[in-house]
Amino acid sequence: MASIAVTKPAAVDSQELLTRVQTDRSCRQTVLIYYTSAVFWLLLGSVLAILASLKMHIPGFLAEWEWLTFGRVRPAHLTSMIYGWAVMAAIGTLLWLQARMGRVRLPLPLLLPVSGIVWNVGVAYGMIAILIGYSTSTEWLEFPVPVLGFFGFCLVLVIYASLVMMMRRKVHHTYVSQWYIYGGVLWFPFLYVSALILTQAPHVNGTVRAIANWWFAHNVLGLWLTPIGLASAYYFIPKVTGRPVHSYHLSLLGFWTLALFYNWAGTHHLVGGPIPAWVITVGIVGSMMMFIPVTTVAINHHMTMLGQFGHLKTSPTLRFVVFGAMSYTLVSFHGSLAALRSFSEVAHFTHHTIAHSHLGVYCFFTMMMFGAMYYIFPRILRREWSSAPLIKVHFWTTAIGSIIYVVGLGWAGLVQGWMMNNPDIAFMDVVKYTIPWLESRSVAGTLMSIGHVVFAILVWRMLRGDGAEQQGPTLFTTARSLRAQRERKARARERAKGVA
């Protein structure tokens, strides 16, 4: 299916095209290893998610094998999704984005693909350890400590590659996405190592562990997944629509305020917990300050998209990225308000928190990564996606599934909280009330998993080379973009005439 025409290379500056093709080509092995592994862990994580979800309303389901009990399947689902899917997708995306934005080739052509394999070994080792009962039982850090060796090796290489690309970059200006990526790349290793020391060292005990634990868990989202997700949004929305960011001032303000405030917010997870009240207050203040970066991002993404929503019909990348960007605004404002003590009195320790975390990691980050992959795969493999209908199935199953998930559990969690705060209601009545909503989660999870399988099929067909091949160096220049280019040149000529 030769769907998109290839323009004559001579039509545009060939040196620039050559650079773009070379940078995309230099990323091929590394990004492919990270992306395909990410999709594998996404599928495995989905299976574990459905198992865990079913166990919530069918308690006897697969309960006779200890390695499939809820206490193991649930952390295995979480770590598979975070360290397998999210981190691997993030590393693939950030390496490609940096090469693209700096117009440099990806360094370490041998070591970076190896790092992808090493990361997989680390995740596989950690997953097996959790399933056979060797979890550390610290949420988000369930992998045994030696996994740090595998992750550390890879992260050092990623930091090195990022710095090398920064030194060699051909574009003097540091684009806002680059700021976010440099931030994320430097913050995440620091977070991981210090949280591991602070939760696993024998000297650290009790509530101090809990503080370090939630400082880390919150910051994985805020200082690692969020920067990479926002870097993608700030690159792909302008790039796909062909319209620069609405307010570049605001975007930079957003980065620096995120860098300043996000780190403080983690302890709001411990509202009502037995830790000093000021520690929690600091977390709540940090959460409220997050209104500044989130507002800048929300204004920018919305104003950049204004008048461009027609592109949602024609671009797979934009659909996922805009869904992710809208979810970012929603999850961040909701998160800031949920940090308040009055709200936490109701929603804390209920299913509401689970809905919130999926709004963040799924509706925002995962959808953003799908969007990035729809853009990047064809450019590193120089091939079209094989089927438009399958892409649409992927979008609608994941979008509808995640909305059912978040709305259902979000509401059920609130009611659950109100019921639990009422001493006249028996605890079992509260449990019974939640069961239909837990079933709705299993339905939602199944829908999302169908989407993941469809995506995996698309990726498999892409690797097999089913899509139309692209020969020329100009990828995806269409009749429409040529027309736009011609109109722009005509306008420029008219302007020049006017000046003369």
Partner: protein, 80 residues
């Protein structure tokens, strides 16, 4: 215990200093000047401002045939 303290405090201070250094570097090298050009730095002559760059497979062809414009005709010609 001493090792833990040294590691934590030294890395926290280093991380803070790196952020300050980043800000000073950005101001000195003029990263906050010429913001309009900065916002357009991800575009180039091949993919300039005003050019959408992502489509569903098959969508562009039907758009081209349907439009019946000169560009569409040119595209058809190249394909043949």
């Amino acid at each position: 215990m001493l090792v833990v303290y040294v590691v934590i405090w030294s890395s926290a201070v280093l991380l803070g200093l790196s952020a300050v250094w980043g800000l000073v570097w950005a101001i000195r090298t003029g990263q906050f000047h010429g913001l309009r050009e900065g916002a357009e730095s991800i575009f180039d002559d091949g993919e300039p401002v005003g050019t959408p760059t992502d489509f569903f497979p098959g969508a562009a062809r039907s758009a081209a045939s349907a439009s019946g414009t000169k560009a569409g005709a040119m595209e058809e010609k190249w394909r043949r």
